[in-house]
Amino acid sequence: MSSVLYDAQGPRAKRRNIVFTAVFLVGLAALLWWVFSTLYDKGQLEWALWKPFFTSGEAWSTYIWPGLQNTLKAAVLAVLIAMPLGAVLGIARLSDHAWVRIPAGIVVEFFRAIPVLVLMIFGLALFAEYTDVSSDDRPLYAVVTGLVLYNASVLAEIVRAGILSLPKGQSEAAMAIGLRKNQLMRLVLLPQAVTAMLPAIVSQLVVIVKDTALGGAVLTFPELLASANTMSGYYGANVIASFTVVAVIFIALNFALTSFASWLEARLRRSKRSTGAVLGADDVDDINAAEVGGPHKADG
């Protein structure tokens, strides 16, 4: 194994590595020992607390599955609503007319600079004050509103970056054969940009799924994390067990999405049929942070 940081190792380096490995292993074992002994002392390892998740389906069918359904419902609704909004905003930001481009830019930058939780709290109060949505449905509406406002602007940047990532020759060739601006966008740029954006959109789904948990913790939205709370109340304060199960589900779901995104990205980069323009997970991280990296990185 060699990298830019170190060479292939000789006998001395190998001996040193073994020492490092041993020291690290001892440290890791000490940490695990501390965790388990604390858990044991507090009685959190008792089988009674973990039993509900392994022996009967009740915990799964009453708490976890409905929670997961709500998580997925909020995430899917948010994507479906945010996608077209994002596409419109993203294309508007590329407009030749300043009166279209600048307002779209302000909207996008504004909503990217604000925490999703603030948008969700705003949404909850908004529905309570100005609409007659029933109080049971309000948390879902608020969570989806917050997610849509934020993610529409992130997706707008993804769309913009996707279009900008295409080689210039594409629009030059389209203009040379006499296509109008809207034909150029509709027939040439967008179809290719959508392909290039796919991995980025799937990566953004991970962010959305993670953000739904905010609704459970702050807005009383009955999603997966909230069901961990309910369960630990019902099954005799098995906080550690409930949180572990819920965390594992989140990890599995998001890990599947992340892996799918990287598979898609690798596949698109290999493919000979496309222009080779791809937006990956790193680009999405930049875009989520607002302002700094964004589309400019794509040409680097």
Binding site: V4, L5, N17, V118, D211, L214, F250, N288
Partner: protein
């Protein structure tokens, strides 16, 4: 129309937000650097640990981590982080949660910086007869750090926005104050505008300045 704002400690809440952000930024920079060192180092066990940590933590919602520090670590296992009163404990737990979460992203930002350095740079340095320490200290790491500024700035901005999650365990920062104000006053749009403005003031200049610095120092290839 702005009178009611005087009844609330708006600046105090945003000061808590800033404190959360700064303390977590310092902590996650340290832990994230250690993780990055493990992930790019030659020891397989440490590499495996770094990779596993990053992949697990990145896929858990921050809300789960923060809520767990309070309900799990504090209320179930009795971890207090050396504080006595409820407020300080929750503040420190929130910082701990933010550090654990953000360091995974710091690690990836640093690693992406190292990955921008072509292997040819190290090979050329070795061909000139530089020692291992010289290759790393004079050639590779300076380039890697300069390329990491941009990604690290992104992580910092995401962190500033993520401090609001501390509201879930009752830390009196800006989002919690917003919730309280909305419940007590009939000024929804005004309150939201003020809080939103506060966050724009925190994130936008940070992004613009660090983004400029990042572009300025990045190695052009």
């Amino acid at each position: 129309m702005f009178d009611f704002l005087e009844d609330y400690d708006l600046l105090g809440a945003f000061w808590t937000t800033v404190q959360l952000a700064v303390l977590s930024a310092v902590g996650s920079l340290i832990w994230g650097t250690l993780l990055a060192a493990m992930r790019v180092g030659p020891v397989p066990l440490m590499r495996g640990f770094g990779t596993a940590y990053v992949n697990i933590v990145r896929n858990i919602p921050l809300t789960v981590i923060i809520l767990f520090t309070s309900l799990g670590l504090n209320q179930t296992l009795g971890v207090t982080l050396g504080a006595d009163d409820f407020e300080t404990i929750n503040f420190r737990l929130a910082v701990l949660g933010l550090i654990l979460y953000t360091s995974a992203f710091v690690c990836e930002a640093l690693r992406s910086g190292i990955n921008t350095v072509p292997v040819g740079q190290a090979e050329a340095a070795r061909a000139l007869g530089l020692s291992f320490n010289q290759v790393l200290g004079l050639v590779v790491l300076p380039q890697a750090f300069r390329s990491s500024v941009g990604p690290l700035a992104n992580v910092l901005i995401a962190l500033i926005k993520n401090t609001t999650v501390a509201a879930a365990i009752g830390v009196a920062e800006a989002a919690l104050l917003m919730k309280e104000m909305i419940e007590n006053e009939a000024q929804l749009l005004l309150i939201s505008a003020v809080i939103a403005f506060g966050f724009v003031v925190l994130t936008l200049p940070t992004g613009l300045i660090l983004g400029w610095v990042g572009k300025k120092v990045a190695v052009k290839r």
